[in-house]
Symmetry: C2
Subunit: 382 residues, 2 copies
Amino acid sequence: MTSYAPLANPVFLQACLGQATRYTPVWLMRQAGRYLPEYRATRARAGSFMALATNVDFATEVTLQPLARYPLDAAILFSDILTVPDAMGLGLSFQSGEGPRFARPLQTEADIAALAVPDMDKLRYVFDAVTAIRRALQGRVPLIGFSGSPWTLACYMVEGGSSSDYRVVKTLLYARPDLMHRVLAVNADAVAAYLNAQIDAGAQAVMVFDSWGGVLADGAFQPFSLAYTARVLRQLQRHGPDGAVVPRIVFTKGGGLWLREMVSALPCDTLGVDWTLNLGAARAILAENARPADGAAASAIAPAALQGNLDPGVLFAPPEAIRAQVRAALDSFGPPSHADAARAGVAHIFNLGHGISQFTPPEHVAHLVDEVHGYSRTLRRA
Amino acid sequence: MTSYAPLANPVFLQACLGQATRYTPVWLMRQAGRYLPEYRATRARAGSFMALATNVDFATEVTLQPLARYPLDAAILFSDILTVPDAMGLGLSFQSGEGPRFARPLQTEADIAALAVPDMDKLRYVFDAVTAIRRALQGRVPLIGFSGSPWTLACYMVEGGSSSDYRVVKTLLYARPDLMHRVLAVNADAVAAYLNAQIDAGAQAVMVFDSWGGVLADGAFQPFSLAYTARVLRQLQRHGPDGAVVPRIVFTKGGGLWLREMVSALPCDTLGVDWTLNLGAARAILAENARPADGAAASAIAPAALQGNLDPGVLFAPPEAIRAQVRAALDSFGPPSHADAARAGVAHIFNLGHGISQFTPPEHVAHLVDEVHGYSRTLRRA
């Protein structure tokens, strides 16, 4: 077993588990990305997005770039959400300006019948990157591993790429739900194996991105997305090789109306929410299910933290407006729980409600992080 | 005052006001559109989308086309949602395959200071179309007039066209809320004048499309979209020239989390909802505010009906799957109110949760309409 430096900043992991913290931790979805000139330079050296994402050294380099600029409380593996279907043989590529394409999308019943959980050795480059990044972090902050949700992967696998209307995958869903369920079952088992291998490789928390759950209708989301995310979570190992609990986070973009159902159905620690939710109202829903503060909590897994939810569009405004919106989000969540409360409360991890835009001025992010840290400390002294 | 044939089918108007009906009325957003070969033929004859939308004869022809195919319970004016900003002088055009463009979007503080409610004479072609369509309908079904919401219009006016991230308009909103409020105030007063003129011209119901309300964050939706839709509604005349009540409908795509706030804030009769909402849960929220069945209701305006909410993607499935999903939506809404109930209940107008896709097979729509009419009659006999 690889041995790593001890973790200097556990605030993110504590908050994920609903524990009281000295301040509100913050990281940003897509924090290693195109808005950073150093990222664009590395990508230019790599030559292509796939070359960047599949090379351990490049992936390590870009994962650490935002941490050199901002005192973020977590790092997230730099990778693509479509690595798993690529390993299934669908043939991933990125056309410039067009997003991902699969050379062999699922088009026939035979394609779907042949689909299988891939050999995890084909994803070795991802696990190697996890280990390299964890080592390079030197215990500074924890490393988050991730995967797309079974439904989100299926959207790309059936559509063959991005879509504006999800016409092909919805046709399959409504016309042949049996085939849709088969794709999702294979995806769920593959994602579970993939995340467990990331945990083995050194990931200290794992996150499932249900990026397209919100395009489903009520009544379709529950059996076709939620149920399979739950199937992933039930198969995850609770502890890393070092014995530490590995928090699990689920983010469903556009899923706010189903928050109560997610709380009941998903054995995870933290729910990510987009900017359409009121954090205070969401917190009240989680609090209905709050885990006890005593040791009985160790085995139970129910969501005890919210992650989110600033509109990424706020980062286009001037610094003072950004700071005001950060304070408004923290105020909307409400007073932080105290460590000595009879029951542990619901914790908050600050994030955006979606990935950071490539057009964000990098200096604006510094204001966001500084205000989260500063103002959330003030709230704890109140 | 123009005199029209008496209305043969009042079911849609009755349901909009929360009254019990013999069956659930149905119409489809964008029912006159590209999925119909006869629409594409008329558009080809017109030469361009603008030529189609600004010509009274063409607009009348395409408005009536879906009624010739399906026994729909309402017609909706064929027009564009951007007619009002075009009349404000922003210079609307449609590039093929790219959607709407404004030649003179709002880019400077001076542009915004100069913005004013346009002379309604510039929109005479719309009102003439309303009158011509109303006459051509010969009282068969009621005619719905419509406008984009102040916020939705502002998105296009500031972005200059469609957007995937609303970066420009959100920058304005967060950086200069004072300027954003000025745009929205002018838009609201313009939209109110526009809808009142449509009512004078013969529209029997009016609908505000808040197509982009759902891209706003909680805390921004309320002051920047909801408040200005309410400002429109407060200025609307309650009755048409013939003395009939004119129901008002508001549809906010992606606004499901704010349904309770919409019920409180919007003086309208019907709320349109997209497919992410559970109709039964939404009905319960409206029922909290249900209007009394007696005469006291005449002056009060609170939402008493839901319009929606089938996923347009369902229409890609085979007929039997479409019919099953229609029944599921009607069942999700629950048992219809009875005319003799002590309090009028919440009524349902069947629709899609968004506009019909151009890729919809036209014969599939016939199955949807037939199943809504047939199954909803069955529910009333139960």
